[in-house]
Symmetry: C2
Subunit: 297 residues, 2 copies
């Protein structure tokens, strides 16, 4: 019996069938699964490779870790202003190096009735943000991500001593010129100098942020360290140590560039490190910026 | 029988006798007993009146407390340079507000092989100096000696609020002008400002030195405090709190004048307080001075 369909109709059907078969894999292929904040963090921690201390502060600080991530922000500190910028950028996972709630352990018991804390927490919840702190493992990484970011920001790669991540032999300069150079490169509003600005130096060590007196003094005790560049330190601790060293006639100085200023470049470097790990996610670095203002002259 | 002595000789003897009798009380009177360092400190602590916490840091830090005191020096911090000036002034009891050995508890175990510490300790021993720290009780005193010294140094007595030692209603000014004014009055090389320099303010609270985040935030939470003036505070603590408060649109600011700068006037006041207590001892105030240098422009 002849087919009830014409040759044209059968050819058209065949063409449609071929097109359908070609499109089927794409139609049935799964969309890349949207990672949750928890999954993003797990992937980061696997990538670092170093074991995580159970007492680490690298934990979620606010928000629901099961939230699908729309975008990642890295920053030195998730200030209220950084959170607003993250929302404007369409990102909802904020990776902060420093605390969210004004103390190293992000304890909030003493802030329960504080309006500044309440408003910040409400903003995070209202915008379904998730905050994760990336501090310990970013430092424990080899190389330390914060030191690496700083070195790139100030252009000290070529001065680095072999096998040492944070010790440098600079072209001869003075402590004052070195401090001014760092102030300008890092745009710091709060560089503080202990020692003689006219002291000629080449041997510099760097410790980011607030590493603590023990580490700072250990660096300064080295015969091959003349200047320690650090973020911030108590006046009655390393500052007074250097003061006495100088009074004793030792060739030492201390430059405190500011905590944020010393570690923010490390979070810009963090964003660059994250992008190939999460090719399907927008990774944005948002600087918290120097917290201090310049004074009128 | 006529006397064997002439009238002149008898009159001379009588005169000598009278002179001797007049001088005897002075000759036989006891010289004021030279107080030891321990006795000076006991007298100070009795004068304060407040009970001493057994965990107080107000203890002898170096030298022999049984040393007779030749003179008293008060200072914010017994830096190496202050010790040398004390020796030049003939004083051997140094009353310091801050630590001698670079940490709050003046622990020295981690410094045993440190040359800066060794040289300082040797200097104290070689010159038979005694160092006593006057920190806790000077704060617990009513009024707090450090706050009192600061208020007098900046001339805020007339702005003090009734029944409050550290809260002031200033003539309207801006945060920037207030910070510049404090910088100039206190000769600070390291004033740091968080907030809008153009913010108009009158309501100011002051906390000397590094009072800690809990106290600092408690002051800033007050509706009648717009600006907190303090010595120093970690960037991730009160500094970031104020930063968020400002971003949330609150009428707040923070001025960090420097730790030494905020408390040194209190030790000048301490010297004035001590002088009538020890009328037989020279009491000299020796400023430690701002530890920071100005940067070249």
């Amino acid at each position: 019996m002849p087919s009830m369909y014409s040759f044209s109709e059968r050819r058209c059907s065949a063409l449609l069938f071929v097109l359908l078969m070609a499109a089927a894999p794409a139609a049935f292929a799964q969309k890349p699964r949207q990672l949750t904040a928890r999954q993003v963090v797990e992937k980061i921690q696997n990538q670092i490779g170093a074991p995580l201390d159970p007492n680490s502060v690298d934990t979620f600080k606010a928000g629901d870790p099961n939230t699908p991530v729309t975008g990642i922000v890295t920053t030195f500190m998730d200030t209220y202003d950084v959170l607003r910028q993250a929302v404007a950028a369409g990102a909802n996972l904020i990776i902060t190096h420093e605390p969210t709630f004004y103390n190293h352990l992000d304890k909030t018991d003493f802030l329960q009735s504080d309006p500044v804390y309440q408003q910040k927490l409400a903003y995070i919840h209202d915008h379904h943000l998730v905050v994760w702190r990336f501090h310990d493992q970013w430092h424990w990484r080899t190389p330390d991500g914060t030191i690496e970011g700083f070195v790139q920001a100030v252009g000290w790669q070529k001065y680095r001593r072999p096998y040492e991540q944070n010790a440098f032999t600079l072209p001869p300069t003075t402590v004052g010129r070195l401090a001014a150079d760092l102030r300008d490169k890092l745009n710091s509003h709060s560089v503080r100098l202990v020692g003689d600005p006219l002291l000629r130096v080449t041997d510099v060590a760097f410790l980011p942020g607030s590493s603590g007196e023990n580490q700072e003094i250990r660096q300064l005790e080295r015969d091959d360290v003349q200047v320690l560049v650090a973020g911030e330190s108590w006046e009655w601790e390393t500052v007074s140590y250097v003061r006495d060293a100088v009074a004793e006639g030792r060739h030492k100085a201390l430059i405190l560039v500011g905590h944020e200023v010393s570690e923010e470049p490390g979070m810009e470097y963090c964003a660059r490190w994250l992008r190939p790990i999460f090719p399907n996610l927008q990774v944005t670095f948002i600087p918290a910026g120097d917290p201090f203002q310049n004074l009128p002259q």
